[in-house]
């Protein structure tokens, strides 16, 4: 019963967002981005509701959701740390920063801490190549990192 009422609430929220975009098919990406922001990820239920409201198949919505690396189809941590692994950041010392982050959080890249607070990921070039190593934590960018600085930044989010 409890789950059902939660689902009803989500279904309502999905309708509100889809309505805001006038039920337009071409707004699917924005709709998914907003839902991804609200819930942290796009659950099967959310994708089905979006599909229903836009008169698409669930497969179509899923195919879009899984195409983009900033949309999650599985639960992720509250803060997603994306460390740039492209060559300029590597030359600037990305590997040491990666080790420090691993050690600090006790997880490997691709994993989420058990308290659901942090997900650790690598990302491709984020355009901070002159100030590497660099990382994004959700929408905030951090650069000129070294192991110490990186760990201190993460500490602020604890």
């Amino acid at each position: 019963m409890k789950l059902e009422s939660r689902n009803n609430q989500i279904a309502q929220e999905v309708i509100e967002i889809v309505e805001k975009y006038n039920f337009q098919r071409e707004k699917l990406l924005q709709i998914l981005e907003e839902l991804n922001d609200s819930y942290g990820y796009l659950s099967e239920f959310v994708m089905k509701e979006v599909a229903k409201n836009l008169q698409l198949t669930t497969t179509e919505v899923y195919s879009v959701a899984t195409f983009y690396s900033f949309l999650n189809t599985r639960p992720k941590g509250k803060y997603i740390i994306r460390l740039c692994k492209t060559i300029s950041c590597v030359l600037a010392g990305k590997n040491a920063v990666a080790n420090a982050l691993r050690n600090e959080l006790g997880i490997d890249f691709g994993e989420t801490t058990s308290d659901g607070k942090f997900s650790l990921e690598f990302t491709n070039c984020i355009g901070m190549c002159n100030q590497g190593p660099a990382m994004l934590i959700n929408n905030d960018v951090y650069y000129h990192l070294d192991p110490e600085k990186a760990v201190e930044i993460v500490e602020k989010y604890q």
């Binding site: 071409e26 924005q30 981005e33 983009y68 949309l71 492209t86 060559i87 190549c129 002159n130 994004l136």
Partner: protein, 403 residues
């Protein structure tokens, strides 16, 4: 003027002057002026901007669109980030001039998800320009309407390819379209669409105020004007530099304080690796295509490791739609790993080179067509080093040499 630091994009310019000049002219005259300047697209492909605008102007369509490609994702590129941060009004002014010239009333900036933190500044800049009536309805009393919206991407390198970008704008997977038809004929929502890079739009106001002749005298015959270079890697002063087209690699290296340079990757992961013997080559569309990214490697760097990093990038970012790219990038990466382990025979290396050529010809979009570039150029330049490397310990019975 080749080789000297110049300032077109980074010079201060009052917003609106170029736009006022432009809307006092006939659209055809603006296009003629852009054509005369010989401005070419700064995203990497170098398509003549004036011709693109003309095609859209002449195309039939009730609605037309102007799209700014701000999906800067090429490894080592960050010039657009600087323009988006410091000179958003130049971009929007360029887009509005383009809109007036081609007959479009709507502009869209496709901003990559990684630059989401720049959105607020861009939205504010649009608001200010609307307040000054440089955007919006009846711009400066001319009867011309032009509005710009910011559309956020969601993390996909391939969306920098213009047709993949349009698919993404339409809320679909960012998979490249078959061409023709080109976006100039059938672009966003099936309407004629100009898709230009951030930097390309930024040159337009300067061309309007200072003239096509002035612009075309900078740079080389086929590559006029200046170019922004994002320079990173083993250099003392990394950053964005505005240089005349045709500047040589040597000049660039001197400027940024590079020492003991072994190789320079010009044009990012999909660009070309240049070794010392070619440092005297100019960076221009006639010689080394200027993608905007320059990554410098000093003599301590292992070029096979660099190549592996690039190939991993392509394997991840290939959209998987066409076979040459999906399978090809994977096989090339596998080949690099074999070389690391000392398992790649010269015969198999030739097979991989054939595969790279096949990808170049048969991939559907720029990603797959350019992915072999670093593979071929790094292997060619450093074959001796790669063949003679100490192999990583391996069990020879389990992992035989591949022929």
């Amino acid at each position: 003027m080749v080789g000297h630091k110049i300032q077109i994009l980074f010079s201060p310019a009052e917003t609106g002057i170029a736009l006022r000049l432009a809307i006092g002219k006939k659209p055809e005259d603006i296009i003629a002026q852009v054509k005369e300047s010989k401005l070419r697209g700064r995203g990497g492909a170098g398509f003549p901007t004036g011709l693109k605008w003309e095609l859209v102007q002449q195309a039939k369509g009730e609605r037309k669109f102007v799209v700014c490609n701000a999906d800067e994702g090429e490894p080592g590129t960050f010039k657009d980030r600087i323009l988006l941060t410091d000179h958003p009004c130049k971009i929007f002014e360029g887009m509005a001039i383009c809109g007036y010239a081609v007959g479009a009333q709507n502009g869209v900036v496709y901003l990559r998800a990684e630059y989401r933190y720049l959105r607020e500044g861009l939205v504010n800049a649009i608001k200010k320009m609307k307040e000054s009536n440089y955007l919006g309805k009846n711009i400066m009393g001319s009867g011309f309407n032009f509005d710009i919206e910011i559309h956020l991407g969601a993390g996909a390198y391939v969306c920098g390819e213009e047709t993949a970008l349009l698919e993404s704008l339409e809320g679909k997977r960012g998979e490249a379209r078959n061409k023709p038809p080109y976006p100039t004929e059938c672009g966003y929502m099936g309407c004629p669409t100009v898709v230009n890079n951030v930097e390309t739009f930024c040159y337009v106001p300067a061309i309007m105020t200072k003239g096509a002749q002035w612009f075309s005298e900078i740079g080389t015959m086929e590559s006029t004007g200046s170019k922004l270079f994002s320079i990173s890697g083993d250099v003392a002063k990394p950053g964005v530099y505005e240089l005349a087209m045709g500047s040589t690699v040597d000049v660039v290296l001197q400027l940024v304080g590079a020492k003991d340079t072994k190789a320079v990757q010009v044009g990012g992961a999909s660009g070309i690796c240049v070794a010392e013997k070619d440092f005297n080559k100019p960076i221009s569309f006639e010689s080394l295509p200027p993608g905007g990214s320059i990554i410098v490697f000093n003599k301590s760097r292992d070029m096979l490791y660099v190549l592996k990093n690039f190939m991993e990038f392509f394997v991840e970012e290939s959209c998987g739609q066409c076979t040459p790219c999906r399978e090809g990038t994977y096989r090339l990466l596998q080949g690099v790993e074999m070389m690391e382990q000392g398992r790649c025979s010269i015969h198999y290396l030739h097979t991989l080179r054939d595969l790279a050529q096949t990808m170049l010809i048969s991939s559907k979009c720029g990603l797959g067509q350019l992915a072999p570039n670093p593979f071929l150029s790094i292997i060619d330049n450093f074959k001796g080093e790669i063949l003679a490397r100490d192999r990583v310990a391996r069990n020879s019975k389990k992992t035989p040499v591949v022929r």
